[in-house]
């Protein structure tokens, strides 16, 4: 028999065989090393057990030995699609611990760069989601064409496209290069055209509607009880967005809206992200218009040999995938006593089975694609 696959004789002879299949970890559509043990009765899924941990790199234990500054590059590698929001959350936590004030210009740069990362992540997600539904890579290529432009911006500013390692405690590492802001303006001006094209290509497409509407439904109560955050929660009808709830950093100064879905199925999650990208563009326009000049880092802030006073802090932000939080306990030493990351992808993944039961395998893949998980963050 094929290893890892066993035909379990079902007790009730009348039923067909229960086919137990493990999909992954080398599977074309599981977004990295992630395995699903699926039990199939004919076409329908009877049970689905997600298995992950293949990408566990012991991030939190290492952080306890490396200095505060040293673990910033490691936060890039948590959710490797949006490194800057990871840095931001970590820096927020350390700033709460060490009490640095962030200069105005640094706050604005952080918001600009954070929203650009949200665009990068959502373009990735929409491309992968439609790719799982079978479109031969065309939407993926269009999404990646736009994403490349933003990654070039990151390369110009931080020196790397995905592993930016740009934010420091009390501000940012280096100031905007000459002409960078005009580049950003050009990219943002061209973005709505891409969004309109993407919407006209897909949202009214009968096949996509048939494959995504009513598939992988996540009820409002289950979403709240399971602690789901981010677009998955908003698609189920709960208008919870940390940028409005916490109004951390300077988000209170920008006016933007938070889209909410009504059905909580794959189609809603897809559309919510599309609408969120339009909101991010609004924020970016306002932030660039009001970008002040001045210092980019708190002069008192020390990055090397930082020894924050003993205590604990929990910094959280609205990362593209949900609420990303860093919980630090410091005992005054050069490295934190305890370093805990609240990964939105892992928590959003816990309800995968409830969403997929009763559906077919093709639905399970579509649902997994719509939750938008990145295994770097799930396994840490």
């Amino acid at each position: 028999m094929i290893p890892g696959v066993s035909i379990e004789e079902k007790t009730d002879p009348l039923q067909g065989q229960i086919l137990e299949v493990s999909m992954g970890p080398h599977h074309p559509s599981t977004h990295g090393v992630f395995r699903m043990d699926v039990k199939l009765d004919g076409e329908r899924i009877v049970s689905l057990k997600p298995v992950f941990g293949y990408l566990h790199r012991n991030h939190e234990k290492i952080a306890e030995d490396v200095s505060y500054l040293g673990s910033i590059p490691y936060t890039d590698r948590l959710d490797y699609l949006c490194s800057l929001t990871n840095n931001w959350a970590y820096c927020l936590a350390v700033e709460k611990l060490s009490g640095f004030e962030i200069p105005e210009r640094a706050e604005y740069i952080r918001v600009i760069v954070g929203e650009l990362t949200r665009l990068v992540n959502h373009t990735c997600l929409m491309g992968f989601f439609v790719q799982d539904l079978g479109a031969m890579g065309t939407p993926l290529m269009y999404a990646f064409r736009e994403r490349e432009k933003i990654l070039d911006l990151f390369e110009g500013l931080t020196g790397a496209r995905m592993m930016c390692n740009y934010m420091r405690f009390g501000g940012v590492r280096c100031d905007l290069p000459v002409g960078w802001i005009d580049e950003v303006k050009k990219v943002i001006a061209a973005f709505p055209r891409f969004l309109d094209e993407f919407e006209s290509l897909l949202t009214q497409n009968e096949i996509l509607i048939a494959r995504a509407q009513g598939v992988g439904v996540l009820s409002k109560e289950l979403a709240i009880n399971a602690g789901i955050t981010g677009p998955c929660l908003r698609a189920s009808g709960v208008g919870h967005d940390l940028r409005k709830v916490d109004a951390y950093s300077i988000y209170s100064r920008f006016d933007f809206k938070v889209p909410i879905g009504a059905h909580g199925d794959c189609y809603d999650r897809f559309m919510i992200r599309l609408l969120e990208m339009r909101e991010s563009l609004k924020i970016l326009d306002q932030a660039i218009a009001a970008l002040p000049s001045g210092q980019i880092i708190d002069p008192k802030a020390k990055s090397r040999g930082l020894r924050p006073k003993a205590g604990e802090a929990y910094g959280r932000i609205e990362a593209p995938k949900g609420e990303l939080g860093f919980y630090l306990i410091s005992e005054g030493g050069p490295s934190p006593y305890r370093y805990r990351v609240r990964p939105p992808s892992l928590i959003n993944l816990t309800v995968l089975e409830d969403m997929c039961l009763g559906g077919t395998v093709a639905d399970a893949i579509a649902t997994l694609g719509s939750i938008d998980i990145v295994l770097g963050e799930v396994d840490r």
Partner: protein, 390 residues
Amino acid sequence: MTLVERIDQAPLLLQRWAVSFFPALLQPWVAMLISAAAIIGVFASLFALSTLAERKGLGRIQNRPGPNRVGPFGMLQPLADGIKMLIKEDIVPLRADKVLHFLAPIALIVPSLLVYSVLPIGRNLIAMQCQLGVLLFFAIGASTELSIFMAGWGSHNKYSLLGSIRAIAQMISYELPMVLAAVTVILATSSLDTVNIVEAQAGGFWAWHAFTPWGAIALLTFFICALAESNRAPFDLPEAESELIAGHLTEYSGFKYALFFMAEYLGMMAISGMAITLFLGGWQAPLPILNFIPSWMWFFGKLACFVVLFIWIRGTLPRLRADQLMNLAWKFLLPIALLNIGLAGLWVKSSGWIAWPISVILLGLAIVGLGRLLRGSRPRGGKRIYRYAD
């Protein structure tokens, strides 16, 4: 024999000239051999061309140039693929059913090529003019399912078996509406012979069957079934299964896989050839004044348009789920095809003008009604309005 006619009948004259070298006894055999060789030669090279067109077309759709390294503008890419396929090691699974595993590609290529014998490529350029051309086309086309079963069963792999069952179920359920769509044309021209069908559409493009109410709907149904029959675009469930089953081709590599690959393209071109013959006036020129262009050029031009359409749809549409696929065939295409036969009968019996309004109304009603039935509970058009948090 003006120059234009000479070019038009060039293949025929060539064949007669070649045959004249042989003794009388052998001449019929040689004539058959030459036309067979011509078909295989022409359509095999068209296969190579269409793989290149597919890869470059998909590339251009996805904002990338497509293969352009092998030869000028990537022209030698099919040659490179061919050689690669020949060189690759042909792995046969250990406990596979050797006989079936070996026979499956052959059992697929033979009918795919046999089907070309009835397609009228140009004015009296047809390999075998037989009174039952269309029936022969569908009879031989029906036997391709057996070879898919052999491929699935022969590779002794549970996933290939499930993939081949899905492929057969899909092909059978889409064969029915396709044959019924062809029946409307037979009903209109009262002859199964492809040459008669093409001659019945002589005159300008307004005489083509595609421009009658029932013809347009039949062409649409035929085209959707052609997509499903050749396992392409929104119906490419069996092979490009990104979910569970990797399709019945998983255990094939090297030359056998190339044969399957070739059979898929040959099948695609054969079905588009039949669609052209039935609905778009085979080798007829759209306007009588354009008759100076040789007839076979029209056939290959229309064939090229169909191939481009196949590629275009493949680059755009996501895939249908297995049960939606079946619903579409049995609950939408089949009723429409049956209704269409009724309308074709009405069209043939009555003079044109009363048939037009009745068929347009009936067909419109059927499509909208069945479309809504197919959509089931989802709101109209799946349009959703999203509100914003306060």
